[in-house]
Amino acid sequence: MKKDNRTSYLFLLPYLSMFMLFIIVPVVMAIVLSFTNFNTIEMPDFVGFLNYINLLTQDEIFMQYVLPNTVLFALIVGPGGYVLSFVLAWSLAQLTAIPRTILALIFYSPSMTQGVAMAVVWKVIFSGNQSGYVNSLLMQIGFINEPLIWLQDTRFILLIMIVVALWSSMGVGFLAMLAGVLNVDETLYEAAAIDGIKNRFQELIYITIPSMKPQMLFGAVMAIVGTFSTGAIGVELTGSNPTPSYAGQLMVNHIEDYGFIRFEMGYAAALSVVLLLIIYLFSYVSKKLFSES
């Protein structure tokens, strides 16, 4: 038995060491650095909560643009993308296998383009002159009279980011929920019909969702990760960090701005910690909603 234990740890070792090095250590390091002043050249010196105090009291850009943008973006793209994924997954489950597979592939494929390569295409579509596709279309139907510079216009940047992020939000979570709906025990539906369930909607509320809670939670966590990972999209679309008048500035961009442009690593680390806390908060809420215990 002793020897068996040793092999267990041995099998775990490669994964755990990489996990420690590149996931745990960076998180711990972010927390530690957030209490220091660090410019990457001199040794970091301890400053206590100064970074956090500055964040709350001095950083006008953070309070005025970055935080509201992030919260708005996350609230629409996170729950919005999640509900959309679920509705699509549930509807697809009502279809026969072949059309379901084809449609699922179509909905899933945008999430494969997550990479920046796609930002290039959005730039062409939202191009600011009259031969841009969106401009040309809107001008033809008479909605606007002259071309709008979509990606530099502070009124539209965040909106476009949200649309693009929603477009690519049907990822792994969507597939998990589709599999979840398909795997609900059919006898449950039969029993429910006898018990007086009247329509598909009641079925959905009383049978489907309760029996696939674990998948719902997995989908929620994936939606949260997806939302915050696409946070850099504003800089890619507008081509500059900071984005024009900070209109599309999210936490991730703000961290990059302070960390790699101004080299205020301590302050950037404090921003990272705040971002991790926001992500944790979202996950906590979804756990409360879907956890079985």
Binding site: Y15, I23, S229
Partner: protein, 289 residues
């Protein structure tokens, strides 16, 4: 009369399914538009890229844009083949190593009893919500402290521990009956032999899924090229393609950018189409409690 649902996962077409098609199909077309657009834009000759009003579909397809992209890379000093080589090497290594270490760990987390097992799995579950770019600075510092900056290791190591991969694999191994393993133990099989001969062949769907997720992550990844490398010839295709974004103001650049997007997207798509039934099989065990 009690409600008789035509049911989830129907075997045959029924009129009641029509209402789903009514909104699913238009929505699918809308979702598909940008992707159809890349395919068309990539093959447009110069005069169609310039066309006013702009046209969505290509009329006279050409491979000009592909040639331009290759030429551009060559004139910038580093041939496109170098970026492709880097990407293939890094992607191959990450996919292989990530699947290998996740299956090893998944096997013991699922089938063995030892101290700290539940804690490790719980921590991994918490790490499902890990967003690498949130801690890009400490990750950068870790890489530079390890001294692997600007090497292939800097592309590979930061990405191979994938909590999602381990999670899906472990859940999948959970449904392999213990008796199968006990029988092998009685026959005198070593742990590694059990892993290699019994577990791996039975969890192919989960392996395929973890592999495809790893592939998508690495293939599209910019973090390692932007932050962990300094010399141009160590960078990946994804990074090079993203630099083309700067040139999209030029009309010629648009065509090349579309080609770039196409080159990045197609391998993902093909891989997913080939493996989709395995992915769906794995996803039915993806519940998070």
């Amino acid at each position: 009369m009690a409600f008789k649902s035509s049911g989830v996962n129907p075997k045959r077409f029924h009129r009641s399914q029509l209402k789903f098609y009514v909104f699913l199909i238009p929505f699918a077309i809308f979702m598909l538009l940008p992707i159809v657009f890349i395919f068309n834009h990539a093959f447009k000759p110069l005069d169609e890229l310039y066309a006013f009003p702009p046209r969505f579909f290509v009329i006279k397809p050409t491979v000009e844009n592909f040639e331009n992209l290759f030429d551009l890379a060559n004139t910038s000093g580093i041939p496109l083949s170098r970026y492709i080589f880097n990407s293939l090497l890094v992607t191959g290594a990450v996919v292989f190593l990530s699947v290998f270490i996740s299956t090893l760990a998944g096997y013991v987390l699922s089938k063995k009893q030892f101290r700290g097992k539940n804690a490790i799995f719980e921590i991994n579950n918490a790490a499902l919500m890990f967003v690498p770019i949130a801690v890009m600075i400490p990750r950068y510092l870790t890489v530079s402290i390890l001294g692997i900056e600007d090497t292939y290791f800097a592309h590979i190591f930061p990405l191979i521990a994938m909590p999602v991969g381990l999670f899906l694999i472990k859940q999948f191994i959970d449904q392999i009956p213990d008796t199968l393993i006990e029988a092998a133990v009685i026959d005198g099989a070593s742990n590694f032999k059990i892993y290699w001969k019994i577990i791996l062949p039975l969890i192919r769907p989960a392996v395929a899924t973890a592999a495809i997720l790893a592939f998508q992550l690495v293939w599209n990844d910019l973090e390692t090229s932007t932050l962990f490398t300094t010399s141009e010839n160590m960078r990946t295709l994804a990074f090079y393609m993203s630099t083309l974004a700067i040139e999209t103001n030029v009309v010629v650049g648009q065509g090349m950018a579309a080609v770039a997007a196409l080159i990045m997207f197609v391998p993902n798509l093909l891989l997913f189409i080939i493996l989709q039934s395995k992915v769906m099989n794995t996803m039915s065990h993806s519940g998070l409690k």
